[in-house]
Amino acid sequence: MTSEPNISERFVAHYEAQKAALPGAGIGWLGALRGTALEGFAAKGLPTPKSEEWKYTSLAPLARLALVPAAAVKNGLSAASLPWLLPAKTHGHRLVFVNGRLRPDLSAPGRLPEGVALTSLASALAEEPELLAGRLCSLGALAEQPMLALNTALMADGFVLRLAREAALERPLELLFVALPGAEPVAYHPRGLIIAEAGSRATILEQHVGRGQGPYLANVASEILIEEGAALRHYKLMAEGDQAFHIAIAHVRVAARGRYESFVLADGGRLARNEIRVRLDGPGAACALDGAYMGRARQHIDNTTFMDHARPQTTSTELYKGVLDGYARGVFQGRILVRPDAQKTDGRQTSRTLLLSEGAEIDTKPQLEIYADDVKCSHGAVAGELDEEALFYIRSRGIPEEMGRHMLIAAFLGEVVEQIASEPVREAFQGIVAAALARKAGGARE
């Protein structure tokens, strides 16, 4: 009796079929790493709601897909068909990936300032693998994170950004990941590595967009090392196709006086999960994780964060705001850990959600674990409906109801989008939010 392979068996088969052709196939340490990762994944399988960290996000619909590994797509897109998100005066550097692999013909890395090196993961493994040894997978725990393990086993490409001491990337780096789903549902596993040496700084805008119809899996992993006094602004737009699964995990380590700022805007995909795990690893290390999401129909949007205050005098803030309509489901899990010697820590976390329909739902799980006594920590999670009193007030001034609703929703999300420090990114994200709300308002009229 034969049966369809289950999803874990499929991924193991992907590995067996591809391993000889994956980048860095001849490199001993990498082969061992991939092997360990695959074993780790195979032992645990796809995460299920039985695991605490996936309590509210089920991958059962993904498990039903007969996923195939994404092959390299050599053509079928033009650079002109991929508009830049930011205005021309800020254009500097752009890498374009199609189904997870760099497409040099679509990319425009521009002139990188001294001390800044940017390559694809495949080239880095081909040209200077010793640089990646001990750095790839230095932050994540393969045994505990099946999707990271899967990414590690199957990563076929991605990017490596290195900022030397005091180097500064003045213009934002756009990383555009385009999905081109085919006849069969594809899976790809892009990997990013950022090393920001002491005193360096950069702004990164990572976008994930879908072209065409059909389901696919983008299983994204990144590792970000921020050394002393370095500062990184990391903006991410998740705008995958309607049937897409986007699962991402970022591991970040921030050394003394370093700063990591993240803003994630979720507007697309059937299921989008973005997990960020930050270790504040030296006095004065600071981190801000913010996000906005707009869910409709049966979308599922999961933001999961882990803030590890490992050293004294570290600060973190988190603000996530979402608007859910239709039968959309939101998840916010925020864990803050303050280790015993992390005195003078300041950690704040807020999640606010607006539920626009009876069918929309949000699950929030804040977790504070504090083992030091001289700390300031707070969390708050609020979910509510549109303020009817405010809406009546607005309408009593002659503003039509639909416009009033739009105004309140835009204001609600505006509060967090306004916090984006990079002006061009802020304006671009404000535009995306406004367009999404206008589409929604248009849809309501139809």
Partner: protein, 248 residues
């Protein structure tokens, strides 16, 4: 301008207004006074079209049309304005943007051209000065972090900008000190005109020494218990509402 006939309203099934009759003509300013819980604010909300107030009987005609059949925003477009007893805070929406959106919505409803940013600013500047409203206040989110007096002045500013034909002021004097009261009263008086009717709802007489009414009505237990000229307000000030509370 406004004709209320036998208006009966329930909230959560409980009768609040039990047969109100009231006529206000263009150019007139009427005051409604009454003890707490007499239904004053209910009347204001029903006129503005707030949900949760069920009209079980009676009619309200405004400029000859059935007011109760109109949506809240239509009523505003037709020139009804309610100054709220408790103006609502709207985080994230700047006062300027709110006022401009409201004005242009009302102008559009009235078939007038919308104002651009420059025209709007010019119009607002004319109105803010007398009310002591600063540019800084206009930049803030609507009513967020405003003091009680600022909120009430902001209501009068909105009224001045939207130029209603029927203004209903619900306890606009509550929470104001004497200086703020005078500023607000001056703002209201400046809007009095032969084409405009006003209904001022208040618990206390003191507002009516600044805004002198043509008629005063006492609302008690959901009915107009007595009507008279402006001297009725002084009489109430002297005697209180005891006779109306006990009469029921």
């Amino acid at each position: 301008m406004l004709e209320i006939r036998n208006l009966r309203v329930t909230v959560d099934g409980k009768p609040i207004l039990k047969g109100i009759d009231l006529d206000i003509n263009a150019g007139e300013l009427h005051a409604i006074m009454g003890p707490n819980g007499s239904g004053k604010s209910t009347l204001a909300y029903v006129l503005a079209g707030r949900e949760g107030y069920e009209v079980t009987e009676g009619t309200v005609r405004y400029k000859g049309r059935d007011l109760l059949a109109m949506s809240t925003e239509e009523r505003a477009g037709e020139g009804l304005f309610l100054a709220f007893q408790y103006p609502v805070e709207i985080p994230g929406v700047s006062s300027t943007n709110f006022l401009k959106t409201a004005l242009n919505a009302v102008r559009k409803y009235r078939g007038e051209s919308e104002l651009d940013a420059m025209q709007f600013l010019k119009l607002v500047r004319q109105k803010t000065k007398a009310l002591g409203i600063t540019d800084e206040m206009l930049k803030r989110a609507v009513n967020v972090g405003f003091s009680g007096g600022e909120k009430k002045r902001n209501e009068v500013l909105q009224m001045a900008v939207l130029e209603p034909t029927l203004a209903v002021l619900d306890e606009t004097d509550s929470g104001l000190d004497i200086d703020a009261l005078r500023i607000v009263a001056d703002g209201v008086n400046a809007l009095r005109s032969p084409a405009r009717a006003m209904l001022v709802i208040t618990h206390y007489q003191r507002l009516l020494s600044h805004i002198v009414p043509d008629r005063v009505h006492v609302l008690a237990h959901g009915r107009i218990a007595r009507s008279g000229g402006k001297e009725l307000a002084l009489e109430l000030e002297a005697k209180g509402y005891a006779e109306f509370v006990e009469a029921a």
